[in-house]
Subunit: 405 residues, 2 copies
């Protein structure tokens, strides 16, 4: 009898009617003959409410106690899901983080799962019960409550699926799956039936946040078949798979964008060894993540311009650090009105010309590329923010991703 | 260094500002040199909200899962109290029911505490930390979450005080202590500085619900010095003590009343052995608690009238059961407009005339007594509801309880 893990996000648990609808999905899987473990998020908004209480209690609340407070949201929905399942005639019981136990490090607020001994949960499944596990929460070796950080319930679900050797981990959310791009920008965006873990990770890194990145990394490492699908429809979702499971390989899986970019340019920096380190060292020390870097030597060979991007939220801090570093630059230019647009696809490993298509398509529309970065399966360009929607549409069409009209 | 248990009720935990005010009381005790363990209730209204969710999920929710849900309220306030204390500069940490552990029976929703191994909490106290324990919750030998029933946090506090050998258990609530009677009826009611456990139990049994009855029984059994006082004032409260600690003994400690009474009279029941059992057996089987009983033989000696009281909420059920029992009575009269008024005091053990004073005072105002019950330290009378306030005022004055004008 196959074993499924089903995970329901906050919108799928927001109130008893929603919980009932989610429970009906669990019941269906049980009646189809699956053993099912369920991982639940807190009701939508509840975690924010609890975080707000902690912040009101103290601006810098003790992270161990913070975890005691914020983990209560998933405790409530786990109990309610078990109650609703029982009312549907499905034997069920909840296992809180410390009852499973979901063993984690003691890095409160951002703990990492170290092990999930599955004896108790597996025994319940063997007895024909559905095991309901609150996401997001765990317990340290000393027996203190931890949480995994925002969106940690996805990671809980994947880790439980890995520990139980589940056939699949279904993540029910408020979107129908992973799309070729943002349907709000391109109405003809298509839902992908399959996507590789690597593509999903690259898409997440450029702003398409359907799943928590850690959960995808874990699924890839543990070879958990992960499916993203909607709580609110019966349409099939998107299955995350290994590259060799993709039969009909598209060149590009999707086009993503990230508005959280800001550009800094140091104009006329002395072109001497160590100067660049003099900038990026202090930024790294401050925990500011530098992404794209372009260096342009001046014609005279004595100075160079250095352009790079930082998260927009770190822009002010980055400027202050650079001015303090005093690397002899003539001036510092900042531009927060830039976006990163990326095309992602494992197909580009084996196909040339992907970048050329991108540059030509953008150039045809007069969109200037300010910086470029690439990975094995991704090409990202930095452009002026005003061209965002146009660039996404043009690239989506250029790679043949538009759904048939 | 003395050890105090301080317990804060729902109104004392209703929002961060209230929690801060409660934490300030803890901080004061710590700065005065006490080791302090704190027991907290959920925020006022929160437990009802969680119970409401369970009820919406299923009218008859599994009591084990119900406990998982409703215990979350105290988990939140325990974490918040620890955070606020730390912000005040007081080292503190929370211990959830399973972390203490507060060991209980597995009677979910109404579990009884079986033991509180205090090793972890005592170690924290010895390290100079305040231990914050959520009230109401415990854990079974199998490691499942339990709750102690409504008002169970008082019992948690007393049990923890007993286990720790605390010098005193202070219960902070929204009243200033135990009064000689309801100040809404008698403005000249006085707050009692001391009251015996027995008196407190009798007062609770007739409707003066300042403390949960089980907590008082436990305090009496374990000889925990229990103090009731207000979170909202600095006035001294009421201390519960053994009888021999009451120095200046008042004849009567207080006058209480109970509106939850209904009277049933079976008119002209055949006066044969077993007939009374034929009525009360089925009522007991149905879990209906019969309180006062009066039997009046008719002049002809062949029939008898039987009058008794049941909780008002059980009246309809009681009537149906009696009619079904068919004990040969001529008719059944019911009256829901009755109240029980009681005077309570250990002084009546050694003083005669207490009952006479009561009957005379009521008779002087034309108040008819419909039934009487007594215990060693209590006399209760059943009267028409319309006389409730008058009777309470008259008795309060008759026993010299009115505060000086």
């Amino acid at each position: 009898m196959s074993l499924l893990v089903q995970k329901f996000g906050g919108t799928s648990m927001a109130g008893i009617e929603r919980i009932r609808a989610s429970a009906a999905r669990v019941a269906r899987a049980v009646r189809e003959g699956h053993r099912v473990a369920v991982v639940v998020s807190a009701m939508a908004g509840e975690t924010d409410r609890l975080i707000g209480l902690c912040r009101e209690a103290a601006p810098l609340a003790d992270s161990a106690e913070h975890d005691v407070v914020v983990s209560a949201g998933e405790q409530v929905t786990a109990g309610l899901m078990a109650i609703v399942l029982q009312a549907e005639g499905i034997p069920a019981r909840s296992f809180l983080g410390w009852q499973v136990p979901v063993e984690t490090t003691d890095a409160h607020g951002r703990a990492r799962i170290t092990a999930i001994p599955t004896g108790a949960v597996a025994a319940a499944l063997d007895r024909g019960q559905v095991a309901v596990v609150p996401g997001f929460q765990g317990v340290t070796p000393e027996g203190r409550v931890t949480t995994l950080g925002r969106g940690g319930s996805d990671t809980s679900a994947v880790a439980l699926a890995a520990a139980l050797g589940a056939e699949r981990c279904d993540i029910y959310t408020d979107v129908e799956g992973v799309f070729t791009t943002d349907p709000r920008i391109v109405p003809r965006a298509r839902k992908l039936a399959r996507i590789t873990y690597e593509e999903m990770l690259e898409l997440a890194s450029v702003g398409a946040k359907v799943l928590q990145t850690r959960s995808v990394e874990l699924a890839m490492k543990e070879k958990v078949r992960l499916q993203v699908l909607s709580s609110f429809s019966d349409a099939p979702g998107t299955l995350l798979v290994d590259e060799d499971e993709i039969v009909e390989q598209e060149l590009i899986a999707g086009v993503a964008y990230d508005r959280n970019e800001a550009k800094l340019t140091l104009v006329a920096v002395p072109d001497r060894p160590g100067v660049v380190a003099g900038i990026f060292g202090p930024l790294a020390d401050a925990g500011i993540n530098v992404d794209m870097i372009v260096q342009t030597a001046a014609a005279d060979g004595r100075t160079t311009d250095v352009t790079f991007t930082v998260p927009r939220t770190d822009l002010a801090r980055a400027r202050a650090i650079i001015e303090a570093a005093a690397v002899g630059h003539q001036r510092l230019e900042a531009d927060a009105h830039v976006v990163k647009v990326s095309v992602v696809g494992v197909g580009m490993k084996s196909h040339a010309g992907v970048a050329a298509t991108m540059f030509r398509a953008l150039a045809d529309r007069g969109i200037n590329i300010q910086a470029i970065t690439t990975s094995e399966i991704k090409i990202s360009v930095l452009i002026a923010e005003e061209y965002l929607e146009l660039a996404v549409r043009v690239l989506h069409a250029a790679y043949g991703l538009d759904a048939p009209a």
